[in-house]
Every structure is written in structure tokens, then in C-alpha cells.
Symmetry: C2
DNA sequence: ATTTCTGGCTAATGGCATTAGCTTAGCAGC
DNA sequence: GCTGCTAAGCTAATGCCATTAGCCAGAAAT
């Protein structure tokens, strides 16, 4: 019997395929083993356990997304950059719904995930540099943008919007909402 | 051996306690059985299976939340109502993080869940009645509000915001952002 | 008191994760 | 080409969980 020639990377690859096709719930060592043509216990030669495999999948998704977001804002600034950032965010979530869902909101106990999370947040912060926000204000703005983008992405990619109204239009409105909140002139005296 | 006196309702109650204390992942028939002092298979006399129990838990959470949201907006209108609605939304998610996480974004294949979801959305729509929005515009606005509130609630309740900056302040800013987007006068010509 | 119904129990099956220990493919060095 | 070592893969075994089947006794109804 020839060897299967697995590597940690190829195992993660197979795991990603399982996630994409059947969702995070279905990510099981047995499923990955079946897909790679190997017996389940053999996988332990390449990953510590299922939890670690999950983390590696999440890491990949976060890295991918950080790259996508970064590319989206390159060469743009201010409102234009914010809009493209949010569109790219949404696009990723819609194109890879299960992968997006595999991203943990909080990278608990894992420095690699934490770093990846920082890379994603970093893109938002970079875009906001175009506005005149002092330290704390930038944090608040980042959180607002993130909440809006993440909320919409989650809801859309998991089928939370059922009505026939055009989602593109809603999303453009959401972008406008965020952009307006970044432009002080938009805030009327109160 | 005296009977345990379980009912479908008391089983769901126990399940809710498990979810609250250990999260949705930990919701297992074995855990509920242990907590109710009964052998696992006995539970099948009261619920069809684990999936159904999960649905009942979700239903309870959604119903609770619909009530909480409804109460929050009673006697208020427009910006005030929107703000209180969002605060109540956030409060529920923070006070019952696991329960909130148990709410499915999309109530797949279940009319009861669907109805509960409609009740929640109904509160938003009711509040937006205070603004002059025609049919589609109300839908878009509802989605934006929901995305913002849900995004923030999810991120906060799962520990997604790590920096020390005050979250209350961020949230008030998010509210302002949503409210401003509902008031056309706030949008400056561009 | 007797019958019936039903909640709870034990036993059994099957899926999955994980560990232990064996086997051998494939390479390094001779 | 032979010798040996390392690591990839395998089988067997354990344990947890969901689910089903079938038994038994407590409670309620007659």
C-alpha cells in the first residue's frame, strides 16, 4: 500500500473543503479522513486533534479575509475606501459562508488567531486614518464599522434576510450610514 | 423509585440552564438528564430528540427577546424608541450571551421559530413606523438597524471587543449612527 | 381492586474522538 | 543493492453521546 502523502497543510486543505461544502458542524476527523483516503487515526500524525484543526481552518479564513480586505482598500481613501472595505467584507462572507462562519469573534487563547484578528482590524484602522480621529475615537469608529459589516455579513450569509427587497440596495444604505457617521459635518447639532 | 415528574416544559427549562451555564455546545441530552436526575433515554418521553430540544431553546430565547424589545419601546417613539430598542437588544445579549447565541439568524424549516423571528422584526418595523418610510425603505432601514444591533451584540457578548475603550460609549455612537441614517436632514449635500 | 397508560429504566447499536502499539514504506548511508 | 531508522499509516480498544427497543412499576381511571 502506497502512502497517502499527507501533510499538515493538505489536511487543513481537506478540512476547508469539508467546511465549504457541508458547514462547520460537519467538520469531523472522520469526514476529513474519508476525503483524504486515510483511516481516521492517521490524521493525528499531522494535527494534534480536532480542536487544533478547527483553529487552523479559522486561521486560514481570517488570513484570507485580511488579504482580501487589504487589497480592497489599496489605492483608495476615506469614503471610497470604507465603502470598498465593507463591500469586500460582504463579498467574502457571501462567497464563503461556512468559512466566514468559522471565524471566531474572539480568538480565545491562541496567539496566531489573535494576530490574524489584529490584521483584519488593522485594515479598518488603516482606512480610518484618513479621517481625523484621535485614538479612542478611532477605536469607537472601528467597532461601529465592524459591527455593521459583521452583522450584515452574518445575517446575509446565513440566510437571515428573507424578504425580496434588494439586498445590494440595503447594503449600500448601510455603507452610507457608516460613512456619514465618520464625517462630522453629518452630525447635526443636538 | 419515585417518578421525577418531568414535563416537556421542565426539560426545556433544564436545557436553558445548561445553555446559560455552559454554552450551546454543551447542550447535550446527557447533560440535561444529569441535571434532571434521570437517565438519558427517559428524556425521549418528553422531547423528540436533541434537535427539537435545541429548537425549543431557541424559541424560548426569541420569545423572551421579543417581549423585552417590545417593552423597551413602549411609550416611546422615533429616536428615543430606536435608542431604547437597541439598548434592550444589547442588554439581552450581554446578560444571556449563550442564550442569545442560540438564536438562529434564519429560522430554517420551522414555523414556530419563523413566527418568533417575525415578532422580533415586528418590533423594529413598529418603531420605524414613526419615521416616514415607504414599504421598501422601511425594509432597508430595518435590515440596517438589525445588522448594527446584531453585529454589536454578537461581538460584545462573545468577547470580540478586547480593547479597554468604553463599550457604552461605542454603543451610543452606534445608536447615533443608526438614528442619523433615519433622519434625512442629517445627510448633508455632497 | 383491577386495568390501563405512561414515565422511567436497562440493554444494545452506531458514530465519533482519541490513545496505544504494530507495521512498513521510503529514505540515508554504506 | 543492503541495512536500518524514522515517520506515516493501520488496527484494536476505550469512552462519550444519540437514539431505539423493550421491560417494569407508579399513577390514574374505572
Amino acid at each position: 500500500m502506497p502512502r497517502a502523502g499527507l501533510t499538515p497543510a493538505s489536511v487543513v486543505e481537506a478540512a476547508l473543503r469539508v467546511v465549504d461544502e457541508q458547514g462547520g458542524e460537519a467538520l469531523t476527523l472522520a469526514a476529513v479522513a474519508a476525503r483524504t483516503g486515510v483511516a481516521t487515526p492517521s490524521l493525528y500524525k499531522h494535527v494534534r486533534n480536532l480542536a487544533e484543526l478547527r483553529e487552523r481552518v479559522a486561521l486560514r479564513a481570517m488570513d484570507e479575509m485580511a488579504v482580501v480586505l487589504g487589497e480592497a482598500v489599496m489605492g483608495r481613501s476615506r469614503d471610497e475606501a470604507v465603502a470598498e472595505l465593507m463591500r469586500a467584507w460582504r463579498r467574502y462572507a457571501v462567497e464563503h459562508p461556512h468559512r466566514y462562519a468559522a471565524i471566531p469573534p474572539s480568538p480565545l487563547h491562541n496567539s496566531e488567531l489573535e494576530a490574524a484578528g489584529r490584521r483584519m482590524i488593522g485594515v479598518i484602522l488603516a482606512v480610518l486614518r484618513g479621517y481625523d480621529l484621535d485614538g479612542p475615537a478611532a477605536i469607537h469608529a472601528t467597532r461601529c464599522l465592524r459591527a455593521a459589516a459583521h452583522g450584515f455579513a452574518t445575517l446575509e450569509s446565513s440566510g437571515g434576510f428573507r424578504l425580496p427587497e434588494d439586498l445590494d440596495e440595503t447594503f449600500e444604505q448601510l455603507i452610507a450610514m457608516v460613512v456619514a457617521s465618520l464625517t462630522p459635518s453629518a452630525t447635526p447639532p443636538r
